[in-house]
Amino acid sequence: MLNPQSAQSVIDHGISLGADFAELFVEQSQSNTVSTLSNQVQSVESGIDFGIGIRLVYGSKVLYGYTNKPEADELKRIMSELAAKDLRVPGISSTNFDFRKVEDLHSAQRTLSIDSEVESKVAFLMAADAAARAAGNMISQTRGSCRQKEQNIELFNSEGLHTTDTRQYIRTGLTSIASDGSEQATGSWSDGGLLGWELQDDISAEKTGSEASRQALVNLSARACPSGRMPVIIGNGFGGVIFHEACGHLLETTSVAKKASVFHDQMGQMIANPCVNAVDDGLLLKQWGSINIDDEGLDTQRTQLIKDGQLTSFLVDRIGAQQTGFSATGSGRRESYKFAPASRMRNTFIEPGDAELDDMIGSIDRGIYASHMGGGSVQPGTGEFNFAVTEGYYIENGKIQYPVKAATLISTGPAVLKEISMVGKDFSLACGMCGSVSGAVPTSVGQATLKVDDILVGGNA
């Protein structure tokens, strides 16, 4: 996308300004989104993102700029502007790039650059809509979408790195709205991964539609949720958002290096119940949060974060490694050329255990079974987090009683990790978008169903 001679002259210019490290991140992405409303195509949107991110590092200080103009003179102008207050003894460099071909571990087939396959996606969403409506005449509306993106990146840096990578993302899903005339409730289902539209072969439009409607109808019949401190069973798959928010963000060197994480000085210590083993894995085949290389050009890896309750690793990017002394874990990620990379999660999950769901429910006198979770957020400095229950049930005397609505779970990361007492066998992963300092990146969350002994449930009963 950028010729190496231009890149070399720009990188050399950065070093001549006294920078310790200079990098160009070139991105050209194309995307296509098909949206449906009921059984009609509401829109088809597509576009090209193109730009170049320029990073200069002086010590641990990051100077970052970006532009849509690829001319070497424009890139040098931005570098000079960035470095104007940091001029040091000019370095002399004639960077020789050593092109490194990255092996594509995920090899997508039905990619956007071959064909956007709009008709096929529309057919899938229509089938999902039909399945959703088959759940009953209380389903008043559906919204479907299928978004496909091909991200091409090219990296050059002053250490001679020159590499390219292509990431193929696809995500599709449906939201059902159920209405009984006075109230409305929603339910949704989605699938996705690091692959092309061959995703279609692994998923079912029938399941997408029927699951969305089942959840909407459950929520329509749900009662107000009891509130207060109580045990909560958190469902598998997207339930892993609890670990993502409560712990994952606090293990990123983005907050560790600033001592803005409660875990910054706890390496090697027991930070969780011994039944907790947690991993951040960038290598999982065709998973939504996987990558071949990170956005700094480093190989990705499987990183064991917690082993038998003990903190074993942080998620470390280049600057984080420099600041904390821990080795980089191939976790430098960014939404696009508009962001400097930062340490971020990939596919993050709690490994499965051996508990049974019935035993978890049977052990609770008064509590909640949160079978499906929504999103949440965390304040890394204090570890305080919240996340929303999108499908939940009240448990009394060891038995599920009735569905509940509008519940939020709040606690702190350090507290909840120690309150996880049972981990089940039904492990699964789910797709999400994680927002942080370097923008929104695709991440998977995951776990088997697990029990938290004590957490604050916010309901309005």
Partner: protein, 442 residues
Amino acid sequence: MSIETQAQQVIDLVKASGATGDLIIDQGESLSLKASEGELEEYKVSSSQILGLRVIKDGKVGTAYSEAVDKTALNSLVEQALTNASFTATEAHESIQLNNAQLMTDDTVLCPAEEVSIERKIEFSLGMERDLVAKPKVKNVPYNSVQDITGQRHIFSSAGLNARSKSRMCVAYAYALIEDGDKNAMEGAGQANRLFADLNVNDLVARAYSNTIDILEGSPVESGHYEVIFDEEMQASLFGVFSLMFSGKSAKDGVNPMREKLGHTIADTRLNIIDQPLNSQGFGYSLFDAEGIATAATPLITDGVLNTLIHNSATASFFDVATTGHASRSPKSTMGVGLHQVEIAAGEATSTDLFAGKYLLLTDLTGLHSGANAISGNFSFGASGYLCQDGERIQPVRGITVAGNFYEMLGKISLIGKDQYWNWEKSARMPHVRFADIAISG
């Protein structure tokens, strides 16, 4: 290639294909600085441009965008939009308005000239962090930023529309992490002004510090139903989360619960909500909407009655009403609707009445994006703030949740204050509203 040349090339191609269309060109330049431990940790500059095209051919609408602007990219932009249109259902109500207005915002008001050296901005950034770290018990200032952002939008259409707006925003914010033994807290404050010179570092540092230190000793209150006042930041955010209730687009799509309630009382009869796009004190100022339609003040709720939904020309046509000038579109999106700048009219309660007796003042809500369902109105958020008695803060409160149904809450208003406040981002202007009977879990 100049903006006008790019636009002309695209619009000519659209017309040659037998379609109509409009083109948004957004450009931006920004500088942002972050400080850490007395040093500049991040220095970011950007220069960006993006084109977003909407075409209508044979009653079908297609959109496409591009950040590349060479001739090939512009040709591809038009081709893609036309291809996308071919897949969509016929949309009888969406059209390119016969609007050849020439509109331009006033740079002297929205984008005032100011000479500010980069050294001064760096000193502001470093000084803000330094002064906050120097306060007792502050461990560090993990999130801080000083930004100078200029954005410009052009809209051109095949009907001859040429509208331009330009706006500048100078922003500073800082979040301090305070630790004292086992206890910690992180809160902050922000400011936004059109002139850098109007940012006040001393005020910002003082507020960021007091917001954090005051909450440090917070603990949950007993679960129950409380009278609640949200501070000016959280109240604006809360109303923003549920702004779908005014959306003509959501009503057209069948997901707005207020669709059948036009002309009905949906809130306490003392509540008046108006969209005020032409108040230039705020950053929601909009001279025209995304279709180039001139904006005007729009009463949304008048004496508790839902007066109107907000419309673009397509949703207005669907409901057989006039557009309210609320078309909203980013270069990457299809046409929707959006509020410009929400105002709640001043009520009659004096501070003495508003803050009488016992109530919770909530100064932070967490999970606003995930804990709310704008279709049902249900919400459950993490919250912190203060238990107050007769205007005095008697206990800092943390680790609680607030839950309820927003649309029901609009009918549970105890009092509306006489004084209006901007939130710090200056996107909404409201008096304090005191709500009754709100479920709190502690």
